[in-house]
C-alpha cells in the first residue's frame, strides 16, 4: 500500500512529534508498504495561520492509497482515505485560550482567527475515516471542543526491546530536551532539599542557550555541582539505553503535556520508576502514584522526599520499576496494535 505520513514541523527541532512519524514509517516499511514521509513547514503566527491552512488544503496527495496525519494542521489535508493520529490542537486557541498561557490578546481579530480555526478543524476532522489520538487528554479535548469521538492509540517507542534494567545506581535521570516547560529546574531545586547522597542527571539538547544557562546558574547558586550533572547535548540512543539501564529511577515532569511523553515510556521499558507531577498532563495516564512511580505536587520538597525514599529503599525502586514495565502491556502499547488499528 502507498501510505503518506503527513505532519507539520519546525526545522532542526527533534522530539516526540517527529519520532511518532519516523518510527511508524520504519514499522510500515518493514511490513512492505511504500511510505512517503511529508513534513510541511508551519508557523503558528496567528495572522499567517489561515493562509497556511489554505495551502494544506491545496496539497495533492492523490498518489497515496491512504494518508495518516499527525501534528496540526496536517489534518486539513484532503484525501478520500484520511486517517488521523491527532497529537494535539493548536492549544492557544483551544484549552489555553482562557488561561494564563494564551499569549495573545482577546480581541476581535484573534477571536475571528479562533472561530475560523475551529470551523476549519471541525470540517477537516469530520472528513477523516478514523481519528486516533496519542492520549486520553487529547481525546477528551477533541470531544469537548470539536464534538469528535476518537480512539486512544498510545505511541510505542522504537525497538523497545533494546531497553533493559542492569541495576539501580544513585542517580535519577531526566533524558529529554532541556526546555523551560519540561521543568528541569524544578528537579534542581528539589535536589537542594534532598537528605541522601542521591544524584541527578539532566541531559538533552535545547532549542536555545538561555534555559541551559539558567540551569547552570541555578546549580551553581545552590551549590549542587557535586550532585547534579548537566549534559547539554543530543543523547544518542545507545547512551540513553545505558543510562536508563543503570539509573535509580527516571523523571519526567512537563507542564500539562498532551501525552505521556517518550521519556516516561522508555524508562518504563527499562523497568524504572517514573517521577512526575500532578500537573504533567498525559503522563498521568501512564504513571500511577506509588504503583509504577510517584505522582507528586509540583513542589521541590515533595520531589526531594520521593528521591530520598528511592535512594534509601532499592527494593522499592525495583518493585516500582517492575510495575512500570508491566504497565506498558496493561495499556497495550505496541506497534502490533498500532499497525492493526491504523491499517484497519
Amino acid at each position: 500500500m502507498k501510505i503518506a505520513l503527513c505532519s507539520t514541523y519546525v526545522p532542526f527541532l527533534h522530539g516526540g512529534a517527529r519520532n511518532i512519524v519516523e518510527w511508524l514509517q520504519d514499522m510500515l516499511e518493514r511490513e512492505g508498504h511504500q511510505v512517503e514521509r511529508i513534513y510541511l513547514p508551519q508557523t503558528e503566527v496567528p495572522d499567517r495561520l489561515c493562509i497556511q491552512m489554505a495551502a494544506l488544503r491545496t496539497l495533492d496527495l492523490s498518489a497515496a492509497d491512504r494518508v495518516i496525519c499527525f501534528r496540526p494542521q496536517a489534518h486539513l489535508i484532503r484525501h478520500p482515505h484520511k486517517i488521523l493520529w491527532f497529537i494535539h490542537h493548536i492549544r492557544v486557541f483551544y484549552d489555553m485560550w482562557d488561561g494564563p498561557y494564551r499569549g495573545l490578546p482577546d480581541d476581535a481579530a484573534h477571536r475571528g482567527i479562533r472561530a475560523a480555526l475551529l470551523a476549519a478543524d471541525n470540517a477537516a476532522l469530520r472528513e477523516a475515516r478514523a481519528v486516533f489520538t496519542n492520549s486520553q487528554v487529547v481525546s477528551d479535548r477533541l470531544r469537548h471542543f470539536n464534538g469528535i469521538d476518537s480512539e486512544v492509540l498510545y505511541p510505542p517507542v522504537h525497538a523497545s526491546e533494546r531497553f533493559h534494567c542492569r541495576g539501580f545506581n544513585d542517580e535519577i535521570v531526566y533524558i529529554c530536551r532541556l526546555e523551560h516547560h519540561k521543568r528541569q529546574h524544578l528537579l534542581v531545586e528539589a535536589m537542594a532539599h534532598t537528605r541522601t547522597p542521591v544524584r541527578l542527571r539532566l541531559c538533552g539538547a535545547s532549542s536555545g542557550e538561555t534555559y541551559p544557562d539558567e540551569l547552570r546558574e541555578q546549580i551553581a547558586r545552590l551549590g549542587l555541582q557535586d550532585k547534579v550533572t548537566l549534559d547539554v547535548r543530543w543523547i544518542a540512543e545507545e547512551e540513553k539505553i545505558t543510562l536508563l539501564a543503570d539509573c535509580l529511577a527516571a523523571a519526567y515532569l512537563p507542564v500539562d503535556e498532551d501525552s505521556y511523553g517518550y521519556p516516561s515510556v522508555e524508562a518504563s521499558h527499562a523497568a524504572k520508576a517514573v517521577l512526575t507531577t500532578e500537573d504533567a498532563g498525559g503522563v498521568l495516564e501512564l504513571v500511577r502514584d506509588g504503583v509504577n512511580g510517584y505522582v507528586l505536587p509540583a513542589d521541590p520538597v515533595a520531589l526531594a522526599a520521593a528521591m530520598d525514599s528511592l535512594y534509601n529503599d532499592r527494593a522499592l525502586a525495583r518493585r516500582l520499576g517492575a510495575a512500570a514495565r508491566a504497565r506498558i502491556d496493561e495499556l497495550n502499547i505496541s506497534w502490533t496494535h498500532v499497525l492493526r488499528r491504523l491499517l484497519a
Binding site: A54, D60, A63
Partner: protein, 324 residues
C-alpha cells in the same frame, strides 16, 4: 549555520533534485553546518491547477533556519528572509502549460528569484532555459562530483528520460549488441513511467539487459550505480548537465549530443566521449563502442575527469557561493 534545503517532490516518485539535495545536505554537515532537507510535494499536472500549486508554495511559512537553499523553481517560491536558489531547469515553461498560465509562471518565478540573495543554475542548459523563459541570466554553479573509488565498470548508465513517452534509449539498446547492458539510475520523474519503461523493454525483448530503479537514489546508492558504469549517456534525462558532471568526476566516458558538447564543456568528441544525434541507431553504435572498446572508454573517462578538474569545481567553493 542552520541551512534548510528545499526541493519539490512528486509523492512516491521523488524528483531529480532530491539526489542533489541529499548530497548537498551531506556536504554541508561535513563542513560543520547543520543541514536538513525540506521536501515539498508539488503537482505540475494538470497545468490548470498550477496557479493553486504556486499559491500553496507561497503560503507555507517556516522559521528556525539561518539560510534557506531552494533547489528548484517551485521550492524557490517559499518565502524566507535569507534565501538562495540553485536551480536546474525543471519547470513547465513549455508547451504543457496553456499560454494564459505562462505569464503566471513567469511572474511567480521572477518574484521568487527577486527575493533571493543569490541565484545560480546547475549548468548551461538550465541557464539557457531560464534566459529564454524569463530573460534572466543566472550564473552557473555546477554541482561538484561524488568522491568515488576508481572502478572501470561494465554497463552503460543513463538517467530515466524526462519525457515519459521517450523510449529511444530502450530502442537503442534493442539495436545494440547483446553484451550491452543499460542502467536507468534513479526513479523516473513522471508517475507510471516505471511501468511504461518496463512494458516497453519487454516488448523490445531487452528486459534482461536493462535495470530500472523504482525509487529515488540516495547519494551512496547513486554513487554505486555510477561507479559500475563504463560510460554514461547524458541525453534527454531530467538533469543531464549534473549527470555529466558526476560522470566526469567518476572518470566515466560521456555520451551526449552536440548541445551537451557546447554546454557542459566536459564532453569533447573523440577526447572525453562521443557526441551523437538522437537517433536510436546512433546511440546504439556508441553503446557498442563504449562496451567493446574498453581501453578507449577508460581513456575518455580520464579525460572527462581532467576537464572537470580544470574547472576548479569543489564543494567548498560551492557551499561558499550558496551561503554568500
Amino acid at each position: 549555520m542552520k541551512v534548510l534545503i528545499a526541493c519539490s517532490v512528486t509523492p512516491f516518485s521523488g524528483s531529480p533534485g532530491e539526489v542533489r539535495a541529499r548530497l548537498l545536505c551531506e556536504q554541508l554537515n561535513a563542513a560543520g553546518h547543520a543541514s536538513e532537507i525540506l521536501r515539498l510535494p508539488f503537482a505540475a499536472d494538470p497545468p490548470a491547477r498550477l496557479p493553486a500549486q504556486l499559491a500553496m508554495m507561497r503560503s507555507f511559512d517556516t522559521w528556525n533556519a539561518d539560510h534557506l537553499l531552494a533547489l528548484d523553481l517551485p521550492a524557490s517560491l517559499l518565502r524566507y528572509p535569507r534565501k538562495s536558489a540553485w536551480l536546474d531547469s525543471d519547470w513547465p515553461f513549455g508547451a504543457a502549460a496553456a499560454a494564459s498560465l505562462q505569464g503566471v509562471l513567469r511572474n511567480a518565478t521572477r518574484e521568487a528569484l527577486g527575493e533571493s540573495r543569490r541565484a545560480y543554475c546547475t549548468g548551461q542548459p538550465a541557464q539557457a532555459a531560464l534566459e529564454a523563459a524569463l530573460g534572466i541570466g543566472l550564473p552557473v554553479l555546477a554541482p561538484p562530483p561524488l568522491l568515488l573509488p576508481d572502478n572501470p565498470g561494465h554497463y552503460v548508465l543513463a538517467a530515466p528520460p524526462r519525457d515519459p513517452d521517450d523510449m529511444r534509449l530502450l530502442a537503442a539498446l534493442a539495436l545494440a549488441g547483446k553484451e550491452v547492458r543499460l542502467v536507468l539510475a534513479g526513479a523516473p520523474f513522471a508517475p507510471g513511467q516505471v511501468e511504461a519503461l518496463g512494458a516497453e523493454s519487454q516488448r523490445l525483448g531487452v528486459a534482461q539487459r536493462v535495470e530500472l530503479d523504482q525509487q529515488p537514489l540516495p547519494p551512496e546508492a547513486f554513487g554505486q550505480r555510477l561507479s559500475g558504469a563504463i560510460a554514461v549517456i547524458c541525453i534527454g534525462g531530467a538533469d543531464d548537465a549534473a549527470l555529466a558532471l558526476q560522470a566526469a568526476g567518476a572518470g566515466k566516458a560521456l555520451i551526449g549530443t552536440a548541445a551537451n558538447t557546447l554546454s557542459s564543456g566536459l564532453l569533447r568528441h573523440g577526447l572525453s566521449g562521443w557526441t551523437v544525434d538522437l537517433a536510436p541507431a546512433a546511440i546504439a553504435a556508441c553503446m557498442d563502442e563504449a562496451v567493446t572498446q574498453r581501453h578507449r572508454s577508460l581513456a575518455y573517462g580520464a579525460q572527462a575527469r581532467s576537464l572537470l578538474h580544470a574547472t576548479g569545481t569543489s564543494w567548498t567553493r560551492t557551499i561558499q557561493a550558496l551561503l554568500a
